[in-house]
């Protein structure tokens, strides 16, 4: 859902703020594209559906229902498949959420971002901390054990103490899944401009490192499993959908700016394609109407590129890359052969950042925090 009511000061996503949305038209196009791409990809069964954006909670439940119906019609959508909807606290009234549940949503991800009103204002959010709290409570009532909250840390002017307090508050409030993101100042956003212009201070690298460490520690102590760089779950409430990104499974992106990775049968056999749908909604709708889908680009990924993605994404998870998963892409050259011999990966293991054992290749606790410093070396080794 590519629309929002306003743009938050830190947001650089493909989202649009328009005075009026032609929901019927958009719905029809989403349905059409979903059908087309499912057919194209020849996918038999869909394991999860994720409604992202923009602000998907601004769509009406009937749109959600229509899309789910289309998916179920074109492929097998099992009853227990995870269907997540991203929601803004300002569009999560009980009736609304109930409507979504009736339409087929069984998991909710709420963009809380912060539990401090001043921070929320700096972020340009539409809600207060109290409103966010209420929204989470409502959601937990309707989606018990299947509600997730998003939180940001490392905001300008955020002190260590303020963050520690927020963590405590978040723990009291949350369900069984938390996504914890360090604020990234993206070029072109209002917040980045404020920091670069000197109006707001940039947080120090050391403070950010400390905030991350304390968050990990506190959450793990509270029973959460730190299963991905920014994602924590307890009682098994992991996000199936997101896991498929990090395991380099297949996924189909529907809607303006959506991304996909799936296999297509061609002359050379099966090839895995990286796809992006047209970004701008009006243009996208035009293409969907005339061609059935609005795919802006299709790139076949070479084996090397696939392995690069698998490596980059897999190492973000606590499970890492298993031997089987690696073997699925590279039956000839095993993980051991690739990274077990003396080389960059070996050196990183010696230094305590990586582990390569019977479970596969993964980061250590310390290594996960500095993964982006490890990856260039590993990619270089992979390329060779």
């Amino acid at each position: 859902w590519p629309y929002c009511r306003k743009r938050c000061s830190y947001c650089s996503f493909n989202t649009y703020v328009v005075p009026a949305v032609d929901e019927a038209a958009l719905r029809a196009c989403l349905v059409r594209e979903a059908q087309t791409l499912l057919r194209l990809s020849q996918v038999h069964s869909v394991t999860s559906v994720f409604f992202g954006g923009g602000t998907p909670s601004l769509a009406s439940p009937s749109t959600v229902a229509a899309v789910l119906e289309a998916v179920a019609g074109a492929a097998h959508l099992p009853d227990g498949a995870e269907v997540t909807l991203e929601a803004n606290p300002s569009s999560t009234s009980t009736s609304r959420l109930a409507g979504f549940r009736a339409a087929g949503v069984n998991r909710l991800s709420i963009g809380v971002q912060s539990l401090d009103d001043a921070e929320l204002r700096m972020l340009g959010r539409e809600h207060t901390a109290a409103e966010a709290q209420k929204a989470v409570e409502v959601a937990r009532g309707l989606f018990p054990g299947r509600t997730s909250i998003d939180l940001l840390f490392g905001l300008p002017r955020q002190s260590w103490d303020a963050w520690a307090q927020q963590l405590e508050a978040a723990l009291r409030l949350c369900d069984d899944h938390i996504s914890l993101y360090q604020l990234t100042l993206e070029r072109g956003t209002a917040l980045a401009a404020q920091v670069h212009g000197g109006a707001l201070p940039a947080p120090s690298q050391d403070l950010l490192a400390d905030m991350y460490q304390i968050a990990r520690t506190v959450l793990v102590a509270a029973g959460f499993r730190h299963y991905e760089v920014s994602n924590f779950a307890r009682k098994g409430a992991l996000s199936t959908h997101n896991l498929s990104y990090w395991r380099a499974d297949q996924y189909i992106g529907v809607g303006p700016g959506a991304h996909g990775r799936f296999m297509l049968w061609g002359e050379g056999g099966w090839s895995r394609e990286a796809r992006v749908q047209t970004l701008e909604p009006v243009a996208w709708m035009r293409e969907v109407r005339s061609q059935g889908h609005g795919t802006r680009s299709r790139v076949v990924l070479s084996l090397l590129e696939q392995l690069e993605e698998l490596l980059t994404l897999g190492l973000r998870t606590d499970e890492g890359i298993t031997h089987e998963r690696w073997g699925h892409f590279s039956p000839q050259l095993s993980l051991q052969a690739m990274f077990g011999e003396p080389g960059e990966a070996w050196a990183l293991q010696q230094e305590g950042w990586l582990v390569l054992d019977s479970g596969g290749l993964r980061c250590t606790w310390a290594g996960l925090a500095v993964l982006d410093s490890l990856l260039p070396d590993l990619l270089w080794q992979l390329q060779r």
Partner: protein, 615 residues
């Protein structure tokens, strides 16, 4: 094109003169006006710096290459041939100025009516005075509001011993009184005392390279005559040539049948490189050798800088650009050099900072090349005491350009550094600050003299390396631009030099080693460590950045390790972008220099090694 007959100008009707002045006092503008008045060029608004042909000259308002122009002027019934030699105004080119002057019998000394006598006014005056030339003082820019010609005339009288009534007050811009200057030239400057009956003796006072016609040498005849077809010899190279063409410059090339003693013009004789027609060289007829004109000097570089292409793939392009640019500038010395960090390049020697800047600018403008210029260095010397080294080098005194060549204290009985005698002219309110600045640069005061109630001239002996980096800028800045500076080579002096190494986690970085005076090492080391700390990217371990002399650490900075470096979000939409960035970083790793286990990107070296721009 008509070929002129120069025989109608006997020696008595010839005047050879030059215009000398401090930078920006208006000598090129005066030259423009003289060209107009004599009809050499037509009078239009577009005549600005006509003799400055290079783009860099026009942009910076300076004259880099000397040009001559022959003007024809009728005064009281007689047709005179006035040869104007436009000289480079800057101290770096004082040798060129002195050679141009040796072709003249007089000079016009231009002084700005507001600024008055400046450092180069003094320097150029002495050059003319020593050459025993007639000096016509001209006070320019009298049209400007702050002009005070009377004050300047008094300065001239006091400093140069020239009576005030000999000064001519002009406005070159507006043309006021300029004709009077021409008349004075005719009246006061003696004609050349040369004889066409003598054997040919021609001074080369400049040369340019033309792709179609070869080397065009600017010559002044001290005796004899020269014409197409004659065979001539260069006193310096002893090579023989046949003359293809002679002529005068008006200011464009105008061929003539012959050139006679006392006249000034150009010659084309099949020379292929400007090194074959060096400034100060003497040309004579084959089989009629003459005593070469005195004062010939091979160019001595004062400032060295490393020059590297931005990317090694540009190496060949830069190589040919350098070859072509040096075709026209025989005073740049070129040696191949290489740096572990920057790749293959050159170490170039320049006559001075302006020379280096102009060269760099010409490289950019005329050849479209962007280069990395490393900080300028000077040639140090060492007197060796180790028999082994003396044998190896074949002599007991060596010149050190590269820190890697620096011999150890134990093998050396004395280190030497080049010095210059600097002249500073400043309003008296800045004396205190300037003296402090000079002391800070290890300079020794040699003279201090009030040239009028307001202005002082200071003479200091400076180690050259103390002024090559940013002395001029510092001087200008603390005197609000009013102080002026000029310098000349003053030989070598003994110095307490050491080699300062830079270490990363204990491992030396060869290309960052510098030769420096002991007293300055600590400050320089600290600065270098700080700059490195800012430019080396953080890594997974702590990095100790140290400056050391031998085993002794004199400065240190610590670069802390990364504790968090992982992108927060990586979902469907982010993946492609992420991969691109990571792969670029992986590529970048290949270009990194690894010092021990510390990865240093090429960019860090560039930022630390390169010359500060604008200095």
């Amino acid at each position: 094109q008509e070929i002129l007959d120069m025989s109608t100008y006997p020696v008595e009707s010839i005047r050879n003169f030059s215009i000398i002045a401090h930078v920006d006092h208006g000598k090129s503008t005066l030259a423009d006006r003289l060209l107009e008045i004599t009809g050499t060029i037509s009078k239009t608004d577009r005549n600005k710096q006509v003799l400055d042909k290079l783009q860099v000259e026009r942009e910076r308002g300076i004259t880099v290459k000397a040009q001559s122009a022959s003007l024809f002027y009728n005064h009281e019934g007689i047709n005179y041939l006035l040869n104007l030699i436009d000289t480079p105004g800057h101290v770096d080119f004082s040798y060129e100025v002195s050679r141009s002057l040796s072709a003249c019998q007089g000079v016009i000394l231009v002084v700005d009516a507001n600024e008055g006598i400046q450092a180069q006014t003094v320097a150029n005056f002495y050059l003319a005075f020593e050459a025993q030339l007639s000096i016509i003082p001209v006070i320019n820019k009298i049209d400007l509001k702050n002009a005070d010609p009377e004050r300047v005339e008094k300065q001239i009288e006091k400093l140069f011993d020239i009576p005030t009534d000999e000064c001519i007050r002009v406005s070159a811009k507006q043309g006021t009184n300029v004709e009077k200057v021409l008349q004075k030239v005719i009246e006061k400057i003696p004609p050349p005392q040369y004889n066409t009956a003598d054997p040919l003796k021609a001074l080369v006072f400049d040369s340019t390279f033309d792709h179609y016609r070869g080397v065009i040498a600017n010559i002044a005849l001290f005796g004899g005559e020269i014409a197409k077809g004659q065979k001539i010899v260069s006193a310096h190279t002893q090579k023989r040539y046949e003359v293809n063409e002679v002529g005068i410059l008006t200011p464009n090339e105008q061929p003539t049948h012959k050139l006679y003693a006392g006249q000034v013009g150009y010659l084309i004789a099949g020379m292929k490189e400007v090194t074959e027609a060096q400034i100060g060289d003497t040309l004579f007829l084959y089989k009629q050798p003459v005593e070469p004109l005195p004062g010939f000097k091979s160019a001595k570089p004062m400032v060295f800088a490393g020059m590297y292409p931005i990317d090694q793939t540009e190496y060949n392009n830069l190589k040919s650009a350098l070859e072509r640019l040096t075709l026209n500038d025989s005073s740049v010395t070129v040696h191949r050099d290489s740096s572990l960090a920057l790749g293959a390049g050159w170490r170039l020697g320049f006559l001075g900072l302006l020379h280096m800047e102009v060269f760099n600018q010409r490289l950019e403008q005329e050849y479209n090349m962007s280069v990395i210029l490393t900080a300028p260095t000077v040639p140090y010397k060492a007197v060796l005491s180790s028999a082994k080294l003396i044998k190896e080098y074949g002599k007991d005194q060596i010149t050190i350009i590269n820190p890697a060549q620096f011999p150890d204290k134990l093998s050396v009985s004395e280190y030497l550094e080049p010095t210059v005698l600097g002249t500073i002219v400043t309003p008296h309110e800045y004396i205190g600050k300037i003296i402090t600045l000079c002391q800070d640069r290890r300079a020794v005061q040699k003279d201090m003299l009030y040239i009028d109630e307001n202005r002082v001239m200071l003479k200091y002996l400076f180690p050259l390396n103390e002024i090559v980096v940013d002395f001029y800028d510092a001087l200008k800045s603390l005197s609000s631009g009013y102080a002026s500076f000029d310098y000349e080579d003053a030989g070598y002096q003994s110095a307490d030099l050491i080699k300062m190494d830079i270490l990363l986690n204990g491992n030396p970085v060869e290309e960052l080693a510098t030769i420096i005076h002991k007293d300055k090492a600590h400050a320089a080391g600290k600065l270098l460590c700080e700059r490195l700390k800012e430019t080396i990217p953080r890594q997974l371990f702590e990095i100790a950045i140290q400056a050391a002399i031998g085993k002794k650490i004199i400065a240190r900075e610590t670069l802390k390790a990364y504790r968090k470096n992982v992108v927060a979000k990586c979902y469907g939409g982010d993946i492609t972008r992420r991969m691109k960035l990571l792969k670029r970083q992986a590529e970048g790793k290949r270009l990194m220099r690894k010092i021990g286990n510390v990865e240093v990107p090429r960019d860090a070296f560039i930022r630390v090694l390169k010359r500060e721009t604008g200095k």
